[in-house]
């Protein structure tokens, strides 16, 4: 399933044309009214982000589209870029108009290099159609977009690491504050938005904030694109309103017999069947769109091992809790698998996981223990069978 109904139904460039008629504050007001929240998973209100960047004083500002879709089990941005690149670029142009940027950068995941010729062609076509260039739509508004290729590091999906990478440095998260909206690319205010967020921004300008708010919940408005994979009958790309329950989603994709679902990718939550009633929304289970279904035969320790191996490899290595903590959690899983992990040590590892969540420098280390902690919490019985119990007599 590779088409996204709502995106397909949009009139090309209607959002941009609307934005050109509006003043900068009005564009931001529309986005703010829609309560659009970052679709990359963090859920930061887009209108607030744009407003910060718009009110920052600087000689130059940048719009950066985060297409470093690296979260395991996420592939919706790839489809959006393949099928609806114009909508994304339209969203970037609207954002540029809103904050006063002249340059946009699409940070494209290294693994998506094959998309580049297509995207360059789209950009060229937009330049020819005066949708990009020195005078966008004939107005005194210069804006152009270039593509920057990532080199395959998961951490570069973190917005400040992404900016470091574009600046030519090792992709590693910065200290926050300051935030990119004030001190971003080359020290200038920069809006970093996910591919999907920008596409929705274009839709919102076209159809209005009220249309967007008519979907979803009060705190999580609108529609979300999901990448569904794993043990289900119909994996693929879906669009659902936010607030959908896990069970409802599973029914649509033919995965209702799952024992657990990983929502939000490797760094997300592992939701057991007993909690399938919970809602996928920023106020309950937040997500960047990745849904991985685990069928009844899955060994949760094996799942965990896989995730932690990923984090050990993908941690940038900068901060202590993430660099070494993930290694210790992985070793802990291996001890659990071998039945050599004591109860005391398991408790210590859970405490370590909490310390990592609290003390890591960026979202990677802060969220990487989530899967470990939720598996230990929800699949205790399964783990208990493998821990070493004290022997008596």
């Amino acid at each position: 399933m590779n088409s996204i109904p709502t995106f397909s139904s949009m009139t090309p460039e209607a959002g941009l044309k609307k934005a050109m008629e509006l003043s900068r504050p009005d564009i931001i007001a529309e986005i703010s009214a829609s309560n659009l929240k970052g679709r990359g998973g963090a859920g930061f209100p887009t209108g607030v982000k744009w407003n910060f960047a718009a009110s920052a004083h600087a000689d130059r500002k940048y719009i950066v589209c985060n297409a470093d879709e690296g979260e395991p089990g996420t592939f919706k941005d790839r489809v959006i870029l393949q099928e609806y690149a114009d909508l994304v670029f339209e969203g970037m142009t609207i954002a540029a108009k809103a904050v006063g940027a002249k340059e946009g950068i699409l940070f494209l995941r290294g693994e998506y290099t094959y998309l580049r010729p297509h995207l360059e062609a789209v950009l060229q076509r937009r330049r020819e159609a005066k949708l990009l260039g020195p005078e966008v739509l004939g107005a005194v508004f210069p804006f152009d977009i270039r593509i920057f290729m990532g080199a395959g590091a998961y951490i570069c999906g973190e917005e400040t690491a992404l900016i470091e990478c574009i600046e030519g440095f090792r992709g590693e998260p910065r200290n926050r504050p300051p935030f990119p909206v004030n001190t971003g690319f080359l020290g200038r205010p920069s809006v970093v938005n996910n591919v999907e967020t920008l596409a929705w921004a274009a839709c919102i300008l076209q159809r209005g904030a009220d249309w967007f708010k008519s979907h979803g919940t009060e705190k999580s408005t609108g529609i979300k694109i999901f990448s569904v994979s794993g043990d289900c009958e119909k994996p693929g790309i879906y669009e659902f309103p936010l607030g959908i329950s896990v069970l409802e989603l599973l029914k649509k994709v033919g995965g209702e017999h799952a024992r657990a679902v990983q929502i939000g990718g490797a760094s997300g939550l592992c939701v057991p069947a007993s909690e399938f009633h919970r809602a996928i929304a920023f106020e309950d289970i937040p997500t960047g769109g990745s849904v991985i279904v685990f069928g009844p035969q899955r060994d949760m320790l094996e799942v965990l091992h896989n995730f932690l191996e990923f984090f050990v490899d993908e941690s940038c290595g900068q901060c202590t809790p993430c660099r070494l903590g993930n290694r210790k959690l992985l070793e802990g899983v291996e001890m659990l698998q071998a039945g050599t992990c004591s109860m005391t040590y398991l408790r210590e590892l859970c405490a370590l996981g909490e310390s990592m969540q609290l003390a890591s420098k960026c979202g990677l280390g802060q969220s990487s223990p989530s899967a470990f902690l939720s598996v230990v919490k929800h699949f205790r019985d399964e783990l208990m069978g493998r821990v070493t119990l004290p022997t008596h007599g």
């Binding site: 090792r170 200290n175 490899d313 809790p321 405490a351 370590l352 310390s355 609290l358 003390a359």
Partner: protein, 643 residues
């Protein structure tokens, strides 16, 4: 006479923005808004200038927040996370070193969450830190060890490596790297890239495979490293230390056939007390003389002697260059650069080899002394130079490289056999059972026993320039330098400003002193000239000046520029006691300048021992054929690229 130096060159610094943005933003916001902000730390109200970090704010009320990756000389990194604190209303803990206070917040520095996170961080670091404290150069002076104690680590919660994973890199004459002890605080990387702008080392690899490596994983001896050792001075553990020559020196001392002489430089004398629990800036020059004799050295000499000799040679070289350019109208390489700092010399050989002709050919005081000891001193005292072992106490790790340069054999032998750092010598003294501060005072040995204040101030940035000016101005104008500068203190070249620029008009000239009569007919060519000099310390500042010279800017019009490889000059050298911070450098500088003020003789050309060597040995005077053979050297075009 002097003008405030407006040098503010926009040279792109190489440290990642992640590590710089913090400081910039904090400063910018503080400047933009100004004013103060009130916050509470552990319930105590604090008022600090806007943009102050939580760490700095906590210091003002005596709340201790532990640090590891933080260093007052370096930009903020916020990577070790040991300084994590709780800020009310924030989901995660915040790094106190990296969090600028811009709003009234409530900070808690030792809640349960904070304590647990810090303990876990220490536990994690120990789980990745191979080596035991007994055998470590940094035993008792290790920040990781202190943290383990502070957080009451009683066992290795997350294990401890049983085997080393890296081989120790001993390829460099100066810096030894033991990656098994590295805690990846990256202070060395920030030192090398940002403080010194050399960029020898970087982080390679990702996650728990990340490690500090030189270019292409090559050993340190094979890459563009200037041996300044600033990385050693900032390493919190024993992962970086200076090449240890103490065993060789002990062996020489224990060999009855060897005549072991040591020269001591002014900077270590102002700092070595720190290794014995004295406050920074406690000069122990004369106590050290006693300690060294008791430890077994046969003679103790003062590097100030050869510093004065250096001034005579280097100052004369400058006057000869001026004569060449102004009197003979022949091309001469200007500005002349000082060559005392081996870190700076190697920096120039790597990064600006086209400017080697500008470098003074005069050897550094260390090397001059070595050559003099194995020739003049050996002859005078009837000692076979092959039996003499010359040791130099230096504040410097690059001196170890310098004394091993193959061209440093003018005496027919290796001029200086071993360069010891302040830290190494402190260990030798301790091993001798001596508590240095308790030693009675004693003088230096003859025939180099008289020193001048000019020699002493070589230890501080601007000191070589001040010493040179004291001599050059007097030699040329015939008037005492006190007529121009009160107490001969040439204040404009002093201080810690990264780059200083001074203009000195020469209104009148005097008669040519006897020492120069054979070479210079008169000084008239200098009359009405303005002597332009500059001082830069730390290679990052040297880079600014060099780039300006390349562009034909203000500094290209200078006649003489003093460059020191290390921030603060020798007193902040890579061989000095750890820690070295801006405050400690200031205290050491104060000790050095107060020692200068105490000397009877303040000017190199008035040193009777120096005059005697020109009368008895180097009879053709400074920069003559003989002195060129012994006291001057040549340089190597190294370039930035290695094979």
């Amino acid at each position: 006479m002097s003008n405030p130096n407006p040098l503010d060159l926009d040279i792109a610094r190489r440290a990642p923005t992640s590590q710089r943005a913090q400081t910039i933003a904090a400063t910018a916001s503080a400047q933009a808004i100004g004013g103060h902000v009130s916050l509470t730390i552990d319930g105590q109200p604090v008022k600090v200038p806007l943009g102050t970090t939580i760490l700095e704010a906590a210091k003002t009320i005596g709340a201790h927040i532990p640090t590891l990756c933080h260093h007052p000389d370096l930009c903020v990194a916020g990577v070790c996370r040991i300084c994590s604190v709780e800020v009310e209303g924030m989901r995660t803990l915040q790094a106190a070193c990296a969090f600028p206070v811009t709003a009234p917040i409530h900070v808690h520095t030792h809640t349960r969450k904070v304590r647990q996170a810090r303990r876990h961080i220490v536990d994690l670091l120990l789980s990745d830190h191979y080596g035991d404290c007994y055998t470590c150069k940094r035993n008792n002076n290790c920040e990781l060890q202190s943290l383990a104690q502070e957080y009451a680590v009683d066992f290795f919660r997350f294990g401890h490596p049983e085997k080393p994973r890296h081989t120790i890199d001993t390829s460099s004459y100066s810096v030894v790297r033991d990656l098994d002890k590295c805690v990846l605080c990256r202070r060395c990387v920030r030192t090398c890239i940002d403080l010194q702008e050399v960029g020898t080392i970087e982080v390679l690899g990702r996650g728990d495979q990340s490690h500090i490596k030189a270019f292409q994983d090559k050993p340190l001896g094979d890459v563009v490293c200037i041996n300044c050792g600033q990385c050693i001075n900032r390493c919190p553990t024993g992962a970086l230390h200076a090449h240890d020559d103490t065993d060789e020196v002990w062996a020489a001392i224990d060999d009855p056939k060897k005549h072991v002489v040591i020269q001591t430089a002014p900077s270590p004398r102002a700092a070595i007390g720190e290794c014995f629990g004295m406050p920074p800036g406690t000069p122990l020059t004369f106590q050290l003389n006693t300690a060294l004799r008791r430890a077994g050295f046969d003679r103790v000499f003062d590097t100030n002697f050869s510093a004065d000799l250096t001034i005579m040679e280097e100052g004369t070289e400058l006057l000869f260059r001026l004569k060449k350019a102004l009197l003979l109208r022949e091309p001469a390489a200007f500005p002349q650069f000082t060559s005392c700092s081996p870190g700076w010399v190697k920096y120039l050989e790597h990064f600006y080899p086209e400017y080697i002709p500008n470098l003074s050919t005069a050897k550094s005081p260390q090397q001059m002394f070595g050559a003099v000891i194995k020739t003049y001193y050996a002859q005078k005292h009837g000692i076979d130079p092959k039996d003499i072992v010359t040791v130099a106490l230096m504040p410097c790790s690059a001196k170890k490289f310098e004394c091993n340069r193959p061209e440093m054999d003018a005496s027919g032998f290796k001029d200086v056999d071993y360069g010891l750092t302040t830290r190494e010598l402190a260990r030798m003294i301790r091993e001798s059972g001596i508590h240095l501060p308790d030693m009675p005072k004693s003088d230096f040995d003859q025939p180099f026993g008289t020193a001048t204040g000019s020699g002493v101030i070589f230890g501080a940035t601007g000191g070589v320039m001040e010493a040179a000016l004291r001599t050059v101005l007097e030699v040329v104008t015939g008037k005492p330098v006190e007529a121009l500068f009160e107490n001969a203190n040439i204040q404009p070249v002093r201080g810690f400003e990264g780059v200083r620029y001074v203009e000195l008009p020469i209104d009148e000239v005097g008669p040519v002193p006897d020492l120069f009569k054979d070479h210079v007919p008169h000084w008239n060519f200098l009359k009405g000239q303005t002597l332009k000099v500059a001082v830069a310390h730390g290679t990052a500042n040297a880079k600014k000046v060099m780039e300006d010279i390349k562009r034909g800017g203000q500094f290209s019009k200078c006649h003489f520029i003093e460059f020191m490889g290390c921030p603060g000059g020798c007193l902040g050298g890579g061989g000095q006691p750890i820690p070295t911070t801006p405050e400690i450098r200031k205290a050491r500088a104060a000790a050095i300048y107060s020692e200068d003020a105490d000397y009877q003789i303040r000017k190199s050309h008035e040193n009777p021992d120096v005059m005697r060597i020109y009368n008895e040995f180097l009879t053709d005077g400074p920069c003559s054929h003989r002195s060129h053979e012994l006291l001057h050297t040549h340089y190597v075009v190294r370039g930035k690229y290695i094979e």
